[in-house]
Amino acid sequence: MAEIALKNLGHSYFANPKSEEYYALKPVDLVWEDGKTYALLGPSGCGKTTMLNTISGLLHPSHGQLLFDGRDVTQTSTAERNIAQVFQFPVIYTTKTVRGNLSFPLECRNWDPKDIGKRVAEVSELLELDDILDLPARRLTADQKQLISLGRGLVRDDVSAVLLDEPLTVIDPQMKFSLRRKLREINRQTGITMILVTHDQSEAMSFADEVVVMNDGRVQQSGRPEQLFERPENTFVGYFIGSPPINLFNVDVRNDSLVCPALDLSDIPRGQLQPGSLQIGVRPEHLSFSDPTDNGALATVEACEDLGIDKILSLRAANGEFFKVKSRARQKIDIGRKLAISVAAKDVLVFQDGKLA
């Protein structure tokens, strides 16, 4: 187990990157603390897998340093780094039994057969694979195969971290849930750092102590799930985290306050903010509606999606801006109806040039 530190670490697939754009992973400083669970979240092609592969050593970074507990491992091979990695598609050794699969990494490390047996028994119990140890691995279901992939990482007693590259993509939704819980349990019991790559935000939020959001080869923000939700550092994070995404409204500057015509807000403190490219963001969950009164913002309902317990309303403000509201209200809402919209001052986030002010 180790603390993994990225020091100005970047990677370009080009031999001579001309500018930042040529980097799949732009140089970044980041520390993965020992024993925590992390999620690496971002859209496809944002550099998540590149970052993971540089950590596991399948890829040698073109730039910067990688430190495990302060030891420079930038140029060492995968085997020396003691990293376990689980891939999107379950990888098993088809000719071997479950037991054979689990003991393979230890055989490669020339362990004593007696110790291998003991260790495999421990890990298979942890993964609840102990009653199918002697079945041929190729006959198992996808989620069991994925557990074997994970188990091959866990049997080694020297694992620094387990890297999971979208491991739940091919698993049934039902099994996904229990597998995710199992991953957390294993983390608690063994204290092994886990890094999960995913593009599914609910997966990331429910799995990780800390979520790292990436876009365009750059780390956008890292923090606890509720931090990302409540205080996104930029509009991308606001947009990417949360479903539906954050609502962005135009604002005008009037004396010392900001004015948002769509929500009829006029008393947002301006502080030191300069006019121009200012926006405010409000989560759809933080907006509430009621029957129209004499004052306050009005909006027209354009669509209403019923998600069972939640409703998502698409609304058009009086000044033409479009936004969404997520609500638990049970009443039926007709399209074309006018509603009064309100928001608490603490839930209004001000962005300048796309960054949280």
Partner: protein, 288 residues
Amino acid sequence: MLKPKHFFLLPALITLAAIILFPLIFTVRVSFSSWDVFQAGLDFIGGRNYVRLFEDTRFWESLLRLSGMSFITVTLQYVLGFALALAVWKNITGGRVFRVLFLVPMMTTPVVMSVIWRTVFHESLGPANDLLSMIGIGPVPWLSSASGAFISVVIVEVWQWTPFMFLLLLAGLVSLPREPYLAAAIDGASPTRTFWQVTFPLMAPISIGAIIIRLIEASKIMDTVYVMTSGGPGTATETPSYYIYIRGLRDFQVGYSAALSLAYLVLMIITLTIIAKLLMRFLVGKDD
């Protein structure tokens, strides 16, 4: 219901019947006759040809010889082809030239190629013995001794058909997924272990396909034998197809050679099916 559109199938059906069905049924009929060079005609002699076949040791010997020859040549072709494919697979820069070069033997006309090899193996005039004499070996009786002739035929077969194995196995290797190799690297597997635990099992289905195709082809081996040794010396390189050729087209025992052909066909179908099943079980696993 017969509709006008079905009549458009007729040309194809007639052709099919004429070139496959008719010869097959006719052969069956001929195999029950005593048709030979003295008395051509379709009489009926019952199963006498088949009884004679069971007592014909020359036929069974040739079958045994063929089994040995196929086993040796196909095994060598598989091992060499796999080795070459692995070599070219990793190193892409020089690969293209080699890929084309490797295919030359396969594209050469069998008779032309056999004539060239017969010259190479000529005892006093061929370059093979000339080269061997430089390092103090020989002269080797390549084509005039029983074992020499057998080995010569094996060498030529391997030389000609290894490229085919190479091509099929390379295509298989190129299409393998990347993840298992990454996983093996993470598990700390050495190159040898990676080959036996990852590459070889993943290649099993295509290996079986390639081996079966080659076995079918090898069981029909005829032109190489005909040109290089004519089955000799004695019957040292005589294969069933060549023996059937002798009985049918040299001795003109048409009825008997028809019986031989059918017996040979049935034996081949049974044997190859069993071999395919065994290979599947051995390489892929019981339940597939």
